[in-house]
Symmetry: C2
Amino acid sequence: MIEVEVKVSVKDFADVQEKLIQIGAVKIKREHQIDVYYNAPHKDFEETDEALRIRVIPENGKNRIILTYKGAKMDDVSKTRKEIEVDVSDAENTDLILENLGFRRAASVTKDRDIYHLDEFIITLDTVFEIGTFVEIETEAHEDEDTSESLNKIFEIYKRLGIEEGFERRSYLELIHINV
Amino acid sequence: MIEVEVKVSVKDFADVQEKLIQIGAVKIKREHQIDVYYNAPHKDFEETDEALRIRVIPENGKNRIILTYKGAKMDDVSKTRKEIEVDVSDAENTDLILENLGFRRAASVTKDRDIYHLDEFIITLDTVFEIGTFVEIETEAHEDEDTSESLNKIFEIYKRLGIEEGFERRSYLELIHINV
């Protein structure tokens, strides 16, 4: 699966929240996400632009835990990249499996995420601990699909939200490394 | 977690099944298990005696899927080794994550497994496709625990089952490789 995604840095969410309602986006939920990123024993993911992550989302008194692989970014304007996810039953054991395979914890990212839906798009308002506030708009495409139309639609939505600058191709992981 | 385990090759299960009932073992269930083993991009698991596996167990119309890491064997008489497991939601995506990380499918093992419980021990009767029939007795220990007492108890159970030879330290993966 390809994740077609464009991120933008914003000062705050007041304007965006108002405009999201105006254009008919529906707020689905708020999530707290604790992400741990790993680096590989046989290559440097910072160089290859890949990522391996365990995400923990506390939900109704228990944790949803997701293991995610992300491939390198596929164009020069967006964060579009291959993304593969599975839910796992246990964060500690998943971490232990990765550590025993030689993967090492590289960084962690914690955020609150408000999630909106608009047609086939997911719009998120992220308050990222120690990094800042960001809007992301994303949708999914198949591996052999042309993603340019989806990208155009994403930039159209940004226009309707009054956002035409501040676009950010770097991942939160990359931004955290710069911030440190 | 340490998996303390001793395996033995048997001609058939007739004798063992009778004796299991005599010594008070309780049959829990029968599982069909389809295992795929992977090798690593940065070392050869055949040399390091490690294993990485996706196991699929069809159960009540859906699949239970388990990702398992096994460390090297820890002594000269048993298959005792570190074992870490998590349930995952999707076998195909787990395979894709591993493949994208550079792991490669090395072999697959398919078996029917009858599972018995006796005190803290799990006794399994395995009919392994293209390999043969085996009994395994295993229990769990903590990482810092002395496993020799558990091992002695396992060999005692084998004695009570009338089994004193045919012990097999090689995994099914290793046996399949020899068979090919």
